[in-house]
Amino acid sequence: MVPEFLVQLRDFISQPWPWWVGGLMISLIMFLLLWFGKNFGMSENFRVMCAADGADETNDFFNINWREQEWNLLVAMGAVFGGYMASHYFASPDGEVAHVSAATVESLRQLGLAFAEDKVPLVPDWYSWTSIFSLRGLIFIVGGGFLVGFGARYAGGCTSGHAISGLSALELPSLVSVIGFFAGGLTMTYLIFPLLFK
């Protein structure tokens, strides 16, 4: 028998978390990594993986001691575990749903993305092997990945390195990067999405 309080704890964790819990937890994660003598920066893992795959032999940008960055790969591995556990054992009572605003549901409908009962799923249906060979799947996933990988290394960080760690340290370069993130994101959202969803 599972004790009642554990069941209650599981149900408590399984609810969708409010934004302030997210902020609290992310700042705790940033603190833990600083306390361990490291830095919060997830996109650095792409470079470490390139180096571990032998990119250091062809290009000096990857000439890093990737074994010293093993800890960051473990954080990424933990994130994979966390994603597995949260989705399999702590799923929200109403399923894998993104509780977006009514205005967002309307904006999605205008792009031709309508959902039954206006329940927006957590991820779009093109996150699947069957649609990866469609133009949309290819552009959104493979194209998006390339831009994220290239841009993150060019700017020297992503959301965790610049928006969270950099802004917390009052770094002007990080503020410039975040302005860049939003300039790019808004360009994609308002100028390119209407073309892609036609």
């Binding site: 792409f46 390139c50 933990g78 493979v142 998006g144």
Partner: protein
Amino acid sequence: MRMSRYIFVGILLGFTLYKTEAVSFFRIFEMFHFQAFHMYGIIGTSVVLGMGIIYLIKHFHIKSTDGQEIVINPKAKTYRRYIIGGFIFGLGWALAGICPAPMFILLGSGYTVLILFLASAMLGTYMYGVLRKRLPH
């Protein structure tokens, strides 16, 4: 084992971004349409608390677990790379609806197709390494 603490931190990160729906394409879509406070709340709270944490670390000279003073390396004070690189990153962030951490988390949730996002992001990183010396920084 000393390394297991990093896996623990990763699991915390996975739960946090999954349960707050920050891993969702549609939450990022909503953020870029300024239609909810949610994502701004998550990032805003973590930055405000993070500022306090870094202030306290500096003020009290808090040491890391291996006994060394915690140093936060300042970033290079050039600006072109941040605005251009940031712009390119932002294009990809909105297009895919995910940034690096959510990609790992969703891989674990069962969206295995995102392994192609990972491969593509590694290719993008590699291309940056190749072109680096010819790009304005």
